[in-house]
């Protein structure tokens, strides 16, 4: 199975992003997804900056995919989507059905925020040009197995296997709201929270993380114990989602497990030290997402 680095969900200063991808170029990731998927107000990197990163990573031997924004609201969001879809150099990850329309039959990756819950829908997307699909984050292993029994031939499967789960998207910006600011005058508050802003329950339990218009799990999804099961099911790519520190070590750890050089128990220990929060794997096992089920 290949390793993909999912699109960066957070908003970091330009220098931090560039340094991050320089470091990622030297890791064992096979595929890198680039681009701003959360908020059109984030401008530390311009489209030309993302394209320059694409060139750098391709030169380093990585497969590069450009990801579209997930929630398209304004005419300018739509214009940016269409420009991205029209590019003929890099494959595109479609995170909205509008992107698929704009791609007009060109090959694409169906991102995890499209609602693909059954084989019939997968067939629709394959006929529209999908060459790979990323399973919805909440989908269970049992459902995946049922889907893959009917998967169109040649369509690859990717599974989100590590990182805080992007669970919901809203028109409202929760990070700005925390500072009593409207979205249009957010003062780029997301920059203050490189792994998101923690939201706890009133009895002190970490619950969610606010990341602008996106709400994430507080816990870090971690399927390191389920990699063999994925391989058996026919999963082609595992997706790791960027965090602000230690990402190269996260990649190295997963890579070592995939190669058979590191046992799962040791990997769990290493990842526990690297992750910003406790691990969970409930979705895969058909449980509430925040559960952690022993393998």
């Amino acid at each position: 199975m290949k390793i993909a680095l999912g699109p960066l969900q957070y908003y970091w200063p330009r220098a931090a992003v560039l340094a991050f991808y320089e470091a990622m170029a030297a890791t064992a990731v096979d595929i890198v997804y680039l681009g701003e998927t959360v908020c059109s107000r984030r401008h530390e990197l311009r489209p030309s900056d993302w394209l320059a990163l694409a060139d750098m990573l391709a030169a380093a031997g990585k497969d590069v995919v450009l990801s579209t924004q997930v929630l398209i609201e304004s005419p300018s969001d739509l214009a940016a989507l269409r420009r991205l879809a029209a590019n003929e150099r890099w494959p595109v990850e479609a995170n909205d059905m509008g992107a698929i329309h704009a791609l007009d039959g060109r090959p694409f990756v169906a991102g995890p925020h499209l609602n693909v819950y059954n084989a019939a829908t997968l067939g629709v997307l394959a006929r529209a040009g999908a060459t790979r699909w990323v399973m919805p984050l909440e989908m269970t292993a049992a459902s995946l197995a049922a889907m893959l029994a009917d998967v169109p031939s040649g369509l690859q499967t990717e599974v989100f296997a590590y990182g805080r789960l992007p669970l919901a998207f809203s028109a409202r910006c929760f990070t700005a709201r925390h500072r009593n600011l409207p979205k249009d005058d957010c003062r780029f508050s997301c920059l203050d929270h490189p792994d998101g802003l923690a939201l706890d329950t009133q009895d002190g339990q970490p619950f969610l993380v606010l990341n602008g218009i996106q709400t994430q799990s507080a816990k870090v999804y971690n399927l390191v114990g389920e990699l063999d099961a994925m391989r058996t099911l026919g999963v082609d790519v595992v997706r790791l989602s960027p965090q602000s520190t230690g990402m190269a070590d996260v990649v190295a750890t997963l890579h070592a497990v995939l190669d058979g050089r590191l046992d799962v128990r040791s990997a769990r220990g290493r990842l526990a030290a690297l992750a910003p929060a406790a691990a969970c794997n409930g979705f895969w096992h058909g449980r509430p997402g925040l559960d952690e089920v022993a393998a």
Partner: protein, 338 residues
């Protein structure tokens, strides 16, 4: 009974045959309903229509020149297509005026096998822009799309102006702060979500606990809110609780409130929206009667004299009485809400 179809439809919820009749009797142009199974997103005990009730409901509505839409707006899970396809097959023979779908695979089946069946795109299909709407139009021939409640009024106006597909907008009822069809918070906490089980913050996960200081509302072990004595407790919908962020305890995601767009009804009509949708299939026939009557009056007033339109106090009094959390909001239609 009007001889020409209205150019702006009032679409009202029917969770039961009495509610359907209440909606029709009080002026709804269209009603929407579901079967008693997982094919629609309000699959609660005691709600929805048996085969006999649907047949009678369609007869009652059609005799009065109104339309019936069938909600088949959940996502078939792998291997489960049969239930949804059979529901579509039944709908096609029963004479519903349209089916409201979210799942592309199901839309593909409907377009191929029942090409004469009018397809409406559910809000759960999460089409927030004209290119997404165009995808469904091009591949399945949808004739109407219900917009997720994430667009500002100018964004709604722009969308309507740039698509040939009819646009239906939510006007009143419980509000989702997340983009519909793009929220997995509920399955994170409980294992069930709108996309997997047609439900959010399911009742089976709700736990109430009284402590010396407060009444606590949980979904499984997740504390959603705490109510002091004298505070009105509401249903613990996950995103509507009070949480701690950076040392502040507040409605960090959304307050319990109802969407109410009476104030911008003239703009919605002027923009060319084809219909306004009232949320509430889980509400009582009395609720449906009251809300339908108010919206019928408002639409008629607007149609008669758009420039003189004002929101009447007695309309608001009726709606205040039935609003969630007794609060109203324009939601995303009003830019500062974002």
């Amino acid at each position: 009974m009007t001889s020409t179809p209205p150019s702006f439809e009032l679409v009202c919820p029917a969770g039961s045959l009495p509610a359907l009749k209440a909606a029709v009797d009080h002026g709804a142009d269209c009603v929407y309903l579901g079967f008693r199974d997982a094919t629609n997103a309000r699959n609660f005990a005691g709600l929805n229509f048996s085969e006999e009730a649907i047949v009678e409901g369609i007869r009652y509505a059609h005799a009065r020149g109104r339309k019936v839409f069938l909600a088949l707006n959940t996502y078939p899970q792998p291997g489960g297509d049969g239930l949804w396809r059979q529901a579509l097959d039944r709908a096609a023979t029963q004479g519903v005026d349209a089916v409201i779908l979210a799942d592309p695979g199901l839309m593909d089946y409907a377009a191929r096998v029942h090409p004469q069946l009018r397809l409406h795109l559910s809000v759960q299909g999460s089409a927030t822009n004209v290119d997404a709407i165009a995808f469904y139009h091009r591949h399945f021939g949808i004739q109407r799309a219900v917009l997720p409640r994430v667009l500002s009024l100018p964004q709604v106006e722009h969308a309507i102006a740039h698509t040939p597909v009819e646009i239906e907008v939510f006007g009143f009822g419980s509000l989702c702060v997340m983009a519909e069809g793009r929220c997995q918070l509920s399955s994170y906490a409980t294992g069930e979500s709108p996309n997997t089980h047609g439900v959010c913050s399911p009742a089976k996960a709700v736990r109430w606990q009284r402590t010396p200081r407060a009444l606590e509302a949980r979904l499984n072990d997740v504390l959603v809110d705490r109510y002091a004595d004298g505070e009105q407790a509401g249903y613990p919908t996950l995103c509507k609780g009070r949480f701690d962020v950076g040392g502040d305890t507040y409605y960090a995601i959304e307050e319990p409130a109802s969407l109410n767009t009476l104030a911008i009804l003239p703009q919605l009509m002027a923009a060319g929206a084809r219909a306004v949708k009232i949320e509430g299939r889980q509400r009582s026939p009395a609720y449906v009667a009251q809300v339908t009557r108010v919206w019928r009056a408002a639409i008629d007033a607007c149609r008669a004299q758009a420039r003189r339109y004002t929101v009447q106090r007695d309309w608001m009094a009726v709606l205040d009485n039935v609003a969630e959390g007794s609060q109203h909001t324009l939601g995303a239609y009003h830019r500062p809400w974002k």
